[in-house]
Symmetry: C2
Subunit: 372 residues, 2 copies
């Protein structure tokens, strides 16, 4: 199956954004290409120097400014069926002026958090009295997943689980991280993703760098290998899952720390239920690590929301007092990183439900020791 | 060969940016992950919600703010050898405050054009008196390609030419655009690119949409097919090349228009030499199209600069009076688009030299009729 977002669902999202804008006294919501635009109207335009911008005002109806050469592409998207007016601009015109004309009376303007600075400044030049801010209305909507969105995340989780199931066979001493990474990228596609978003294969000491990607390092016998991978499905929803493997037998120090990590990840998952704060989920994992003397080796937050972006609200981090609701979807991914030695991380995407966390990823959390 | 940017070249770029900032009275240049950051220091970080930001001031030396979990990744990049100070921030701290502390006296701040709005607004909140603008200093530096950059673009051109050479064999009636596109994506990688950036396979009437990507449309006998493809090489430099194919014999109306298009593309390439304006290069192609009654069917600019981004300065468009200099690299890609019927485009990347344009793409411009 491929999850499909209906016109009805897009209408619901647009109406919710419109209502929130009204409630907050925001005169215009502006979205350039990116996940927010995809979420609101299913238009998958590429962010480029030519302005494409969806405009939502409390008075509705929405309009989208598009370069003339992309009118047919916009018409082929769900935009047309949603009754969003398509407003083309020609190559030698100013799209900012076109947009500003429609927003003459706007005082408060909220823009997509990922809008390019060049677009922001050009709009501000045209709308000198308006106050601009980074929009958080759509982030808030996106945080609360509907049934169809949860189905899409489950589908993405199953696809990346099928990739992880094939990773042990790729990990052999003598192969480089880059070679293994290329094989994994091919599997991410063949198991159903539309794009490969990231491939981390961090072997031996490289495992101590949480955002290591791949390198020419040759995998050696005894290496722990952190494999953190994800892609975007045809539905537009993302996968993200980490497992740590051992190529042959890793040091005892690693095994001991790994056992703590497994317990920490479990503790955070078990803690998830409606009503707890995001920072308390972080603390649940962190406390286990700290009690075992691994607190300083776990230097990143426990997780991030996921949906049409790999990273989105809610962030599972100290200081975030947002209260978990059913439908929140986020990663739980504690790790430990010992520079010069090795690192490890276990990551699942979970969805909060009334009865606790349901995991989208279901490969075993045990350390997979690759037999040589 | 793989083109490699030396530490010396990065130093030259950083020094040039520093000098231009001084000359323009800019107190700080700020770069989040993207092509400008790659160009200046070779650090290929992913643009995410966590702030990574290179700071260049006229007093130098440069510093880069990075999330604590990415310190090892930054150290593994050319950043360390360039003497750029790495300033980590921990998950619960404010990177904007850290950055602002170092920019207390800044009045004029220029930021990467692609910096996210969320980062811009958070910085403005910390630096309330500073005036912000979109940086054009680095775009200006990037417009003038060095010898090694030209070599990288030639290498990218050769790689995408090898892909185009294999396209006719993929175009068969009965195949969908999506199937052909998947094969082309695989070839883009196997011919030496590190990433696939875009694949347009626009058959029959879809050819009338310049930014069509792929669809489920089944290719039919007699279809013209526009194939516009590109990727990024391991060097960080991009390819971008369009050819139009005919699957079997296309209508006479198409053949006649195609002959005009070929002449228009040639006219623009022949016009390129130091001293002419970018808009005159556009006009050279446009005049040929207009004289044959195809003026309104050619609704986009003639081209865009290319380097570490697929689209960058200079834009070959009416209104751009920038004067061409040796080392400018840009596309020349006129097209015609007849809604409901078909479209065509011919695109090469050319580099301006003292003796005229040198093309990085060298597949024939003749209409390739695929024999069935």
């Amino acid at each position: 199956m491929t999850t499909h977002i209906t016109t009805k669902e897009y209408r619901r999202r647009l109406a919710a954004a419109e209502a929130a804008a009204k409630a907050q006294g925001v005169d215009a919501l502006l979205f350039t290409p990116g996940a927010d635009l995809m979420y609101l109207c299913g238009y998958e335009a590429v962010p480029l120097e030519r302005l494409t911008c969806l405009m939502i005002t409390p008075e509705g109806p929405a309009a989208i400014i598009v370069p003339e050469l992309e009118v047919l592409a916009a018409e082929a998207s769900p935009v047309a069926a949603l009754g969003i007016q398509i407003v083309p601009w020609s190559e030698t015109a100013s799209p900012y002026r076109t947009l500003a004309k429609r927003l003459k009376k706007a005082n408060k303007v909220a823009v997509a958090p990922q809008m390019w600075a060049s677009h922001v400044f050009a709009l501000q030049e045209q709308l000198r009295v308006a106050r601009f801010r980074s929009d958080d209305i759509v982030a808030d909507l996106r945080m609360r997943k509907s049934k169809v969105e949860i189905a899409a995340l489950v589908e993405a989780g199953e696809a990346i689980d099928r990739v992880h199931a094939q990773v042990p066979a790729l990990l052999r001493p003598g192969r480089t991280e880059r070679e293994v990474g290329a094989d994994i990228a091919a599997l991410i596609l063949s198991e159903g993703h539309a794009t490969v978003d990231f491939v981390i294969v961090a072997s031996g000491p490289n495992g101590a760098s949480p955002h290591h990607e791949v390198s020419e390092r040759v995998i050696e016998e005894g290496d722990p290998v952190v494999v953190d991978i994800g892609g975007t499905m045809p539905s537009g929803y993302c996968s993200d899952c980490t497992r740590t493997y051992a190529v042959g037998h890793p040091p005892a120090e690693f095994r001991e720390a790994y056992a703590v990590l497994k317990a920490a990840q479990r503790a955070a998952v078990d803690h998830v239920r409606p009503g707890v704060t995001c920072e308390s989920v972080d603390a649940a994992a962190r406390d286990v690590m700290a009690a075992a003397g691994l607190g300083s080796a776990f230097m990143h937050r426990t997780g991030h929301g996921i949906g049409m972006s790999t990273h989105e609200e809610p962030y599972i981090v100290a200081g975030n007092t947002t209260v978990v609701e059913p439908g929140f979807a986020f990663s739980i991914e504690p790790g430990f990183y010992l520079p010069g030695k090795f690192g490890a991380r276990i990551e699942d995407i979970v969805v909060a439900t009334d009865s606790g966390a349901v995991s989208c990823n279901n490969q075993s959390h045990d350390l997979v020791v690759v037999d040589l």
